[in-house]
């Protein structure tokens, strides 16, 4: 089912009673989620991700704006009537019930014409259990399950009533690294097989990028960018999004654009032609101060490279090598560049020179931190 958020805002009264200003957890959200997609809500903690999820589930009511499921306005519909499946961060499995009873619990709420017999419930539960591969655990209690198994039970419980929307709140945060990798693929598979519109919340950009059809990057209750993972990674709309996505993170330098050249310190590292408003501004003689973001994979070691950095160390990681260096204009402590292992030969000594891949370079306005469009020359 298509989900539409139309200028949705959520304010909470401030906990600190001395401050009368409300806390705005979600600020004027407008976006549309197409039917059958897997959406990742991504942002640092406290940015309003979970609140957004709660608003969609109906556990919280928006202070302003409207929410639509398909064409139906569900803004004032309480959670129990929205028919969403919600998986909690800590799973919230009922500890006194067996896995079977946990999964059939939502079915027991159906009344009237929809009321199911015990056999029907069990059949449905078994079916969903097969989907999430916990068929053999049905008679156990949640405390007798591992974290990954509990998570599957939680998903099964959310899926058993065939919700139109599945919401997952930090579904992988309680799992260990290996299990997380496995479960996130599992999640994507379950979503594909059921075709249920799914929204999941995470603070882990890798998680969001790897399985989402669409990611929504947010910070402090404001949506910064919505797009396909690769699009958002390649062309972030501002410095925050650029910094938030990618491991190792993007390397940010202080510099300026002068006469169609990008300067880091005194070195002109890239020839560019600015587009948009900034393009007009650059046509004069003045220099435009910018932040220069370079993805780790955007560095190519070359003897005629125009960016000169002081080499600190080389970390071998097998598939590729991470070259750690420093530069006076760098924001932060060390520049981390990822280079295919076969290209590393010849790096050594005091300094390292890089050529830059223009597609891996982003320019941001120094004051607004918004992306400045450019074409490489």
């Amino acid at each position: 089912m298509k989900i539409t958020l139309d200028h949705v805002t959520k304010r909470f009264p401030n906990r600190n009673k001395k401050i009368h200003e409300d806390v705005i957890a979600v600020n004027d959200f407008t976006f549309e989620i197409l039917d059958g997609k897997l959406i990742g809500l991504l942002g640092p903690s406290g940015c309003g991700k979970s609140t957004t999820l709660n608003l969609i589930s109906g556990l919280e009511m928006p202070s302003a704006g409207r929410i639509f499921f398909g064409d139906t306005d569900v803004t004032n519909l309480p959670a129990e009537n929205r028919g969403v499946g919600l998986v909690f961060q800590n799973y919230a499995l009922y500890p006194h019930l067996t896995v079977m009873d946990n999964i059939t619990f939502p079915l027991g709420n159906l009344r009237g014409a929809e009321k199911l017999t015990k056999e029907q419930m069990r059949a449905k539960a078994t079916e969903v259990a097969k989907l999430v591969q916990i068929g053999e655990l049905m008679e156990r209690r949640p405390s007798e399950l591992s974290g990954g198994q509990q998570q599957r039970v939680a998903i099964a419980r959310a899926l058993v009533k065939m919700p139109s929307v599945l919401l997952l709140d930090e579904p992988l945060s309680n799992l260990d690294a290996r299990l997380r990798l496995q479960t996130r693929e599992e999640l994507a598979r379950i979503q594909r097989e059921t075709g249920i519109t799914t929204i999941f919340v995470t603070h882990d950009q890798e998680e969001a990028m790897s399985i989402s059809d669409l990611i929504v990057v947010m910070k402090d209750g404001v949506i910064h960018q919505i797009g396909k993972p690769q699009e958002v990674y390649d062309s972030p709309c501002n410095l925050f999004v650029a910094k938030f996505l990618g491991t190792p993170p993007i390397n940010v330098f202080e510099g300026c654009v002068r006469n169609g050249q990008v300067f880091i310190g005194e070195e002109a590292v890239l020839d560019v032609k600015l587009t948009g408003d900034a393009g007009a501004a650059d046509s004069g003689d003045g220099s435009l101060p910018v932040w220069i973001g370079i993805r780790p994979e955007g560095f190519v070691p070359a003897n005629d490279g125009r960016l000169t950095c002081a080499l600190s160390k080389i970390e071998v990681m097998g598939r590729d090598t991470s070259v750690v260096s420093t530069h006076p204009s760098f924001v932060g402590t060390t520049i981390r560049s990822i280079i295919p292992s076969e290209d590393v030969t010849g790096i050594g000594g005091e300094i390292v020179r890089f050529r830059l891949k223009p597609s891996k370079v982003c320019l941001f306005d120094k004051t607004t931190e918004k992306t400045i469009g450019f074409e490489a020359r």
Binding site: E80, V84, F88, A92, Y94, P95, H96, L97, N109, R157
Partner: protein, 296 residues
Amino acid sequence: MKQSKYKGWLYLLPAILFLGIFMVYPLIDVVVYSFEEGYNFVSQTSNGTGLYNYRYVLRDPYFVQALKNTFVLVIITVPVSTGLALLISLALSSVKPLRNLFQTVYFLPYVTNTLAVGLVFMVLFKKTEYTDGMVNLLIRFFGGSSVDFIDGPHWAKMLVMCIYTVWIVLPFKILILTSALASVKEDYYRAARVDGTRPSRIFYRITLPMISPMIFYLIITGFIGAFKAYSDEVALFGTDLNSAGMNTMVGYIYDMLYGNSGGYPSFASAAALILFAVVFTITCINLMVSRNNVHY
């Protein structure tokens, strides 16, 4: 290494001595007393052993009366007070404004002296030359005829006794249950709400099982506490409980030892062991029932 075998016992010695003298020895002594017939305190002699003491106690109308009273008290007050405490705790945990005030009010009886409470109940229920008591005034206001609750018919006295007991044990139960309710994670309720669960089903399928260990604890301690009731009866009906017909088992034991008819440690011991057997049996039944209904 041989030395360390005794070392442990040496460390335990003070505790063992203390417990032995003040707990184990008296317990054994009670059992011994209960079988010694015609035991004399002064001369420390008896004329033999046997079951006479038990026969006497079980045939004593005062003991039978005390047994009946105790059972009525237990059967009425334990379920009523636990149920009432659960209702009040549920109400307390669902209100936001004035919650602390309510909590304080409900906790007051716990910090009030038993005898002071007895006095208040006298004002409420006792008939004197000057007034019939508050409750009788109310009864008459609604067109009933007044009843003497303190010196009147047995059912009236029992009623006052039950109200008093429920009132006095309520605060502790409310305290335990409100904290038990507060410890149920909000996420369970939220999960249930998203699934469209009715409030009654949430209560029976989620809340009740989650707080069942605490309820069970309250029922067990409630039973034991009610079986041991004595001071509350004294507060309401004075020390001569036998003639008021309001004696309890502990009261009977006390009277046998120190009361007007005192000086019969053998009868007291026999009664004490009967009480022990009763409490033990009931607790065992409780444990067996709870095995299937309590979720830890």
